[in-house]
């Protein structure tokens, strides 16, 4: 699905990581952890071509991300649902309109009417459909972001600290929604620094845990 092959990236003169490789196979479930500032968000952004690697190759569904034109990147992103750390909503639209936005920009507005009620019900936001994002709590916003990430039925779902601003109960609920999606065949990549959550979820899903530290990506072992 998504493959990073000896990828390097940095800001300005500094190198965040180099020679980093990662492969997200279809239906796999990955946790990405590491200390703050290690480059987890940057790594995720490389995975959905929001950033381009300095060197190495990023392949999205078999295509070199660097070789994609602007429309090509847009089409690739329609196959990747992203739950952003800040949720990235349009505050002038209702929650229902925000969730339907990927369908709207793909000129598939008619499908929204068909899928939206079921999706709102799945994330427990039916009653908040007409509200604006600032009116929602952190947990509700995260669930809405998850609903928006899956409305196009993408092949891959990438979530950046999806439980960062919510309580333990809501964290578990969100994670279970992601596990549910994985069982439906979706590839999942979640960046989180919440090791307790990872330990809890590993009991429910077969997941690889990757640790990004000092520019190196390695598989976490028994310490988890």
């Amino acid at each position: 699905m998504i493959e990073l092959d000896k990828v390097s990236y940095g800001f300005g003169g500094t190198t965040l990581f180099s020679q980093l490789s990662l492969a997200l196979a279809a239906g796999s479930f990955h946790f990405l952890t590491g200390p703050s500032g290690a480059g987890k968000t940057t790594l995720l952004r490389l995975c959905y071509a929001d950033l381009l690697a300095r060197s190495g190759k990023v392949r999205l569904f078999g295509q070199d991300a660097a070789a994609l034109d602007r429309d090509g990147v847009a089409l690739a992103r329609r196959r990747i649902g992203v739950v952003h750390q800040d949720c990235a909503f349009l505050d002038h639209l209702s929650i229902a309109e925000n969730i339907a936005l990927p369908l709207t920009v793909a000129d598939r507005t008619a499908e929204a009417a068909q899928n939206l009620p079921e999706l709102l019900n799945w994330v427990g936001l039916s009653a908040q459909a007409a509200q604006r994002p600032p009116q929602l709590s952190g947990g509700e916003r995260q669930r809405a972001a998850l609903a928006r990430a899956v409305i196009m039925s993408p092949d891959v779902i990438i979530a950046d600290e999806p439980t960062g601003n919510v309580d333990w109960e809501m964290s578990q609920r969100l994670m279970r929604l992601l596990v549910e999606l994985n069982k439906m065949g979706k590839t999942i990549l979640i960046a989180t620094h919440d090791l307790h959550m990872i330990r809890t979820m590993k009991a429910e899903v077969s997941a690889r845990v990757l640790r990004l530290r000092d520019g190196q990506l390695m598989q976490a072992g028994a310490e988890l």
Partner: protein
């Protein structure tokens, strides 16, 4: 055609993706209205000046004046001789000696009324109407030189040339003014679109992240500015039409200042100006939007 239909009909859901910007919208409509009003005025003055100049030039082209030498002893003989030459000249449709009253009227602006014309050595004038196709001024001059020595034929070319030149320049200046107005509309729309795009950087980022193509994002801005420019221009054209209706009317060719407006097919400018304004806005916004989107990569 599909693009035009999409532009007019649009997708209400897609339009909502970009938040409305009240002040930019009002300013765009206002400037488009003012520019359309100015364009209508510039075109109306140009068309009217052109028509008046054409009319004058046409009238002067088909007429000439023969001035007979002052010779009180042989005045009648000279007149008969000149009329005889004129009647037998190809291309001369009619020749008529001006009466004393007509000659007095011609001189009245300079000498005042009740001029004792018979006491003054005023040359007799003959008004000639010609047919452009067969009239030969040089040939007539040669015959008059032989048969009526001292007669002077004035074919009005001295007057006609500067009129034609002036009319051409008025049209040129008016065309330049209209082009400048179009350029100003394009510049204004570009600035407004850039301001709107800059104000919506976060919206554009989100649209990109959920898979919007550049064409989709640009379309939301292009549609808005095109419709605003078209709507503003319609308002400007309506105001322009009202202003033209309030202009004082006069007889055709009487003066450039009288009867300013359109005639016949020229009225189509009232339809064309909003369309042209919308077309200019379409391309200006599209160029600005794609340039900005490329820069934001």
């Amino acid at each position: 055609m599909k693009t035009v239909l999409e532009l007019i009909i649009g997708d209400p859901q897609a339009d909502r993706a970009v938040p409305p910007t009240g002040s930019t919208a009002r300013l765009t409509v206002f400037v488009a209205a003012v520019m359309a009003f100015l364009a209508i005025m510039a075109l109306a003055i140009s068309m009217t000046a052109g028509r008046v100049a054409d009319l004058w030039a046409q009238e002067l082209a088909q007429s000439a004046t023969l001035r007979l030498p002052v010779d009180a002893q042989n005045a009648d003989a000279l007149l008969l001789s000149a009329l005889d030459v004129l009647e037998t000249t190809p291309g001369v449709i009619s020749a008529r000696a001006l009466s004393t009253d007509e000659q007095e009227a011609l001189l009245a602006p300079w000498f005042g009324p009740d001029l004792p014309l018979s006491d003054l050595p005023i040359p007799q004038l003959i008004a000639i109407v010609t047919d452009d196709a067969t009239y030969d001024a040089e040939g007539l001059r040669a015959r008059l030189q032989a048969q009526v020595p001292g007669a002077v034929l004035d074919d009005h070319s001295v007057w006609r040339a500067p009129l034609m030149d002036a009319a051409g320049r008025v049209r040129l200046i008016s065309t330049m003014v209209t082009l400048l107005i179009a350029a100003t509309v394009a510049a204004m729309i570009t600035l407004a679109a850039q301001a709107s795009l800059a104000a919506n950087v976060q919206v554009i980022r989100v649209l990109r992240l959920v898979g919007a193509r550049d064409g989709y994002i640009a379309r939301a801005f292009v549609r808005r500015f095109t419709l605003r420019a078209g709507f503003g221009a319609i308002l400007g054209v309506i105001l322009g039409a009202i202003a033209l209706a309030l202009m004082p009317e006069g007889e055709a060719g009487q003066s450039i200042l009288l009867g300013v407006g359109f005639a016949g097919a020229e009225w189509l400018w009232l339809v064309a100006i909003p369309l042209l304004s919308a077309i200019v806005a379409f391309f200006a916004t599209r160029a600005a939007a794609f340039r900005r989107l490329r820069e934001q990569t």
